[in-house]
């Protein structure tokens, strides 16, 4: 250690998060995610440097501070200008008469409609009227009928709208008013308003004229009644009055609660994106990234420092924009409000809303910042980085717009959707419904934290990838690339190939689903169902996985885990599947309570179709075929590929998510994802696909058996006693009572005892599985060695 005095000053390592700090523990401690050890000293250093660097950049300062300062007043000004422009536009109307026009009550007075038909003079001046007798039309249009003439006048934009009066309008109207003609042929022919709805100006004219004509008609009616000495009030004997109990403050809050969260989020995203691109792609471009990477700062520290910087700017942008927007907005509202005599009065947002928004902004900024950072780290240059903004917005936008859809309220289901949950919670708080929102704070917080954590992990992963950090431009040649894939194949697929396979499966399945719903009409029969299942399983799931395994890997047998396991694992997984069944049943109830099933008719049809076959056919279709096809695809190809990322649990969970998404009903997907985790664990611990298939089979077969009424413990006990197996009969009867009960719908369900028993047995079996030695991939071994060494380093 000669010539290295710095060592002694080096023991400032900060505190180590890996030991016991931020450890989110899932699935009762089986999986624990940890944030890599890092020194806050370095994070702080990097953070302050990056912030200073950004503040010295004129573009950034302009974007976050100057732009909003100028933007909103400018927008406000142009709003005023435009609104004036819109109001002053008068519509040109032609009244085309064929014969006399009615004179009492008057419709037209000079160049306008009669003042009696308007509330204000302004409204009257907006309609400029010209009257033309059809007989006086110009010579060129002699051949046209009145309708054609009117239509041409609108089409050629000579007039915005034409009111066409039929020839004998006045006479028939007069007869109807004196009650002379009540016959069908005496019906008053209708005046026609000819307009073009594809043209905004014509559409406006139509709306205005239509109102005038209606008022005129009302006047005629009123006069007729008066002539017959009936009070016009008898038509509308009373008026309906409405009382709004919302006080002024809440009414304002309702509007603000829709606008503010959206604005907050949009600017948080935009404010995160540009600094993120500069901090990652910009540094790559300027060549300073390698300088930083060769310093002792860990990748996780670099990411954390940069993340905090991006977050700071994201929050600052969001807050500054909100402030400037609010100031300008209030000013405009005051102006417009006073002009419209308080018709559009909107008070300032309640002061507490600022506080709520601050609270919500922190996790949302963290999430967006981490996302932007990961995306920006991938870009080679700032130019490439800018291209990624649009896809990112397209992905996040639905999550922000969903809460703004009318009728969407905060409930447990929606609080579990990232971003959406926060927006809904914020909305509830802004509306003054804080008390109702309290129960949802916990789920929203947990989901948001998990989302943030995943995004941060993604960003750190990006920074750990050489291929991302030193990406070089290469000419893309698809043929060459495909040939390379086959030529340089390794024993097991790469993570990218695994993910591609997953996406392939989802895409093919989506297309097939669409085809089926298009082709299938009427009642779903068992035969159609059989074809659907077979086609889906074979073409969408099995084929891509098998093809890719054969073409892209050197050892398809190792990829697909085609190996005989220890024989003990086979009964073990069967028992595990049986033991987990009551728990899954319970979970399913919880899931359905959270997200009520909306596809009931389709589901019922499906159930009916399945039950129209025999149990064995059902088991073959629902248990045997999927167990083979899905396992080869998911636990075979996809899991083997994803394991090469080095994280065993990450691979299991990602595979399970793909597996879950393949199930088309959301409620089913959630359960399948959980089950997928268990099967993934079995695959890794046993190293063979056989136990996975067996577990999958048992699990699905149980579902079929339990849902069909044919399996009945009582009938089994009857059969057993017929066979003179007294003990089996007793067991069956006792067992039935112990494990099953009949629920309100008359279906059998597991008892609490069955659930507890199942949990205990399952836990024991999972423990047994965890004691099995499993074969590590090269990447997993590496990760574990590094972790052990780091732990040893931390101890010394």
């Amino acid at each position: 250690m000669r010539g290295c005095p710095c060592w002694r000053t080096n023991d400032r390592v900060g505190f180590d998060l890996s030991a016991d700090g931020l450890a989110l523990v899932f699935f009762a401690g089986t999986i624990s995610f940890r944030i890599a050890p890092m020194s806050w000293h370095n994070v702080k250093l990097i953070f302050f440097r990056e912030v200073r660097d950004q503040l010295r950049d004129r573009r950034t300062l302009f974007m976050i501070a100057v732009l909003p300062l100028l933007l909103y007043p400018l927008l406000g000004m142009s709003f005023f200008q435009l609104s004036q422009f819109l109001h002053k536009n008068a519509s040109h109307i032609l009244v085309l008469a064929q014969g006399a026009l009615p004179d009492a009550p008057a419709l037209i007075e000079g160049q306008h409609f009669s003042p009696a038909l308007f509330d204000t003079d302004d409204g009257r001046n907006l309609l400029e009227v010209q009257v033309l007798q059809f007989a006086d039309r110009s010579k060129e249009s002699r051949d046209l009928s009145a309708e054609e003439y009117a239509q041409q006048a609108v089409r050629l934009k000579v007039y915005d709208a034409v009111v066409l009066f039929p020839p004998d309008f006045v006479e028939k109207l007069a007869r109807r008013r004196t009650n002379a003609g009540t016959e069908e042929q005496d019906k008053v022919p209708f005046p026609d308003i000819i307009h073009n709805s594809a043209q905004e100006k014509s559409q406006f004219a139509y709306i205005r004229v239509n109102e005038v004509m209606n008022r005129w008609m009302d006047l005629i009616g009123k006069e007729s009644l008066e002539r017959q000495h009936v009070s016009p009030e008898s038509i509308r004997p009373f008026q309906i009055h409405s009382t709004d109990v919302a006080d002024e403050g809440h009414k304002d809050a309702a509007i603000w609660s829709k606008i503010l969260p959206f604005v907050l989020m949009i600017w948080a995203l935009t404010g995160a994106f540009y600094p993120a691109v500069d901090l990652c792609a910009g540094e790559k471009e300027r060549g300073t990234l390698e300088t930083l990477l060769s310093s002792p700062a860990r990748r996780s520290e670099i990411v954390c420092g940069k993340l905090l910087t991006v977050m700071t700017f994201s929050m600052a942008t969001s807050l500054l924009n909100l402030t400037f927007m609010a100031v300008t907005g209030l000013f405009i509202i005051q102006q417009v409000g006073s002009a419209a005599h308080g018709a559009l009065s909107l008070g300032p947002p309640p002061i507490t809303s600022a506080l709520w928004m601050l609270v919500a902004l922190v996790p949302i900024s963290a999430f967006f910042s981490a996302l932007c950072l990961a995306v920006a780290a991938f870009a080679r240059s700032t130019k490439e980085g800018q291209y990624y903004l649009m896809p990112l917005i397209l992905i996040i936008m639905p999550l922000m717009v969903l809460p703004m859809t009318p009728g969407v309220e905060l409930d447990l289901g929606k609080s579990l959707i990232p971003v959406t949950g926060v927006v809904l919670l914020l909305r509830a708080a802004l509306e003054g419904n804080s008390v109702q929102a309290i129960p949802f704070i916990a789920p929203v917080t947990i989901v948001t934290l998990i989302a943030c954590w995943l995004a941060i992990r993604w960003a750190v992963d990006q920074f750990n990838k050489e291929s991302v950090l030193f990406r070089e431009g290469e000419r893309l040649d698809v043929g060459m690339w495909l040939r390379r894939l086959v030529r340089d194949r390794e024993d097991t697929p790469s993570p990218a190939e695994a993910i591609f396979c997953g996406i392939m499966i989802l895409t093919i399945k989506f297309i097939l689903d669409l085809r089926f719903s298009a082709v299938q009409t009427g009642v779903l029969t068992f035969d159609t169902f059989t074809v659907m299942v077979l086609v889906l399983q074979l073409t969408a799931i099995l084929t891509p996985a098998l093809l890719m395994a054969v073409m892209l890997t050197g050892r398809p047998d190792r990829t697909l885990l085609l190996k005989w396991p220890r024989w003990l694992s086979l009964p073990a997984v069967v028992v595990l599947a049986v033991a987990l069944n009551p728990l899954l049943g319970l979970l399913q109830k919880v899931v359905v309570a959270l997200y009520p099933v909306t596809m009931l008719p389709e589901l019922e049809q499906l159930t009916k179709a399945i039950s129209s076959g025999t149990v064995w056919q059902g088991i073959l279709l629902i248990a045997v075929v999927p167990a083979i096809c899905e396992e080869l695809a998911f636990r075979g190809f996809i899991l083997s590929g994803l394991r090469r990322t080095g994280g065993k649990w990450r691979a299991i969970i990602l595979t399970a998510i793909f597996f879950g998404v393949t199930h088309s009903i959301v409620q089913q997907s959630l359960l399948a994802t959980l089950t997928g985790c268990v099967i993934g664990y079995i695959a890794i611990q046993t190293g063979s696909i056989v136990p996975c298939m067996l577990f999958h089979f048992t699990n699905n077969a149980l579902t079929v058996a339990l849902s069909s009424t044919t399996v009945d413990w009582n009938s089994i006990s009857a059969t057993a006693s017929a066979w003179h197996c007294g003990w089996l009969a007793t067991f069956a009867q006792e067992g039935w009572g112990l494990l099953f009960q009949i629920d309100k719908q008359g279906e059998s369900e597991y008892t609490l005892i069955a659930q507890i028993l199942g949990a205990v047995v399952a836990a024991a079996l999972l423990y047994w599985l965890s004691r099995q030695r499993y074969v590590h991939t090269k990447e997993e071994t590496h990760r574990e060695t590094v972790r052990d060494l780091a732990a040893a380093e931390a101890r010394t």
């Binding site: 250690m1 000669r2 010539g3 290295c4 005095p5 710095c6 060592w7 000053t9 080096n10 400032r12 000293h41 370095n42 250093l45 990097i46 440097r49 200073r52 660097d53 010295r56 950049d57 300027r286 060549g287 300073t288 390698e290 300088t291 990477l293 060769s294 310093s295 002792p296 700062a297 860990r298 050489e466 950090l469 030193f470 290469e474 000419r475 893309l476 040649d477 060459m480 690339w481 390379r484 030529r487 340089d488 590496h782 060695t785 590094v786 060494l789 380093e793």
Partner: protein, 254 residues
Amino acid sequence: MIHARRLTKTYADLRRGKFVAIDGVSFDAEPGQVYGLLGPNGAGKTTVLRILSTVLRPTEGTATVNGRDVVLEPEQVRRQIGFMSANTAVYDRMTAWEMVEYFGRLYGLADDALHARMEEIFTRLKMNDIRNRLGGKMSTGMKQKVSIARAIVHDPPVIIFDEATAGLDVLVARSLLQAVAELRDQGKCVIFSTHIMREAEKLCDRIAIMHRGTILAEGTLAELRARHREHDLEELFFQLISEHDARVPVLADE
């Protein structure tokens, strides 16, 4: 001090299939020595040095720096080295002083010790007049000085210069070479990669001649001359390379 054993790095490359950037490179460098990696562009020098600086991870093989493994303990390795290459730029929006101070702090130096050390380095490298100049406004030579200061601020036992003289004018290059010689005299282990024969001849105690990812010959200048019976390094270099290319035919698509 540095022990590289059978370092191999392969990349997936569309055109050339599995592209082997370096193939089984082994060497040892000791303190008080300038170890030269001499080779044409694309020989794999930068890849070797990036592996030593832990920025890249070897596909196979190991290397230790001062007893620490580059794959298993990358953070510890980075504390032992000062790394400077044509790819390690200085920050545009930071002054020379801020830049060196920032990296000193990342190496964990306490402020007192750091500032004393920085005063010493700034004086020695004659950088006091550019102390408060922003990186974006510096000339190439100034930037190079800042980079050296940044690489040696923590007084590391190992210093790596990767094509450090590339793009420098004669004067700046000369002063850089002087700085390298000084570091060697202080007992540092210096690794110096270049494609310029004269620099290697003048400066390096041991030279490894690299070509196409492998080391063709290795030894002190005298040993190399004696072994290959050629006094002129440039001639020796061409001789080795053409022998190698004759043995291993060039791939058609390259």
